[in-house]
Symmetry: C2
Subunit: 118 residues, 2 copies
């Protein structure tokens, strides 16, 4: 019950860049980065699209080697493959996340820019 992931040396630069060149997927990666260490499941991204559509985008990210999905019960716990990406393409993920960090054109997972508690 494990999903297919490329190993580190199979991660391809053009494929990673192509996969990140989609606003929905970039928003997923930005959100994963903002919660690094906390594994998220698919339903936490439902702001970004339908269940089916997210399944598609999350599969693209996984197949490109950007994310890892671990099957736990009926959930898939999704994490960024930061170590593998840093090893393969040093600095790339950080610069992408920094650039995405303040892009108002990207969709938001929370539906708003900033968490504003009372």
């Amino acid at each position: 019950m494990t999903l297919p992931h490329p190993n580190t040396d199979q991660i391809s630069l053009p494929i990673v860049l192509g996969v990140l060149g989609d606003p929905t997927r970039l928003a997923i990666v930005r959100y994963l980065a903002s919660k690094e260490g906390v594994p998220l499941n698919c339903s936490q991204f439902l702001d970004l699209g339908s269940k089916t559509n997210l399944s598609y985008h999350l599969a693209k990210l996984r197949e490109a080697g950007v994310t890892r999905a671990e099957v736990v019960g009926t959930s898939r716990l999704i994490t960024l493959r930061r170590d593998d990406l840093d090893a393969r393409f040093p600095g790339l993920l950080d610069s992408v996340i920094a650039a995405a960090g303040d892009d108002p054109a990207l969709p938001m997972v929370g539906g708003h820019d900033i968490e504003v508690p009372a």
Copy 2:
């Protein structure tokens, strides 16, 4: 007789990533980076595709804000927009070029890996 270019603040991260997510265009950018300072014209990329096809890919790069094309006579002198990209997305171009630098899966402009003089 000037071609349309986005200004710096109009350069979009997902569009840049999407445009770089193509092996031909990544090879163009890698070659431009390897000859930085030297403006190149389109015909120097003919190893990578037909004249028509290169016109298409070079237009994509220019419209995304990755390259600048200056019209000089019948030529277009093409350069990387390094300053603009660095200002907008610090570190991104460098990490992409470094990652592309040794990717044997990318097409080569010279048709060979390394310049081997006598």
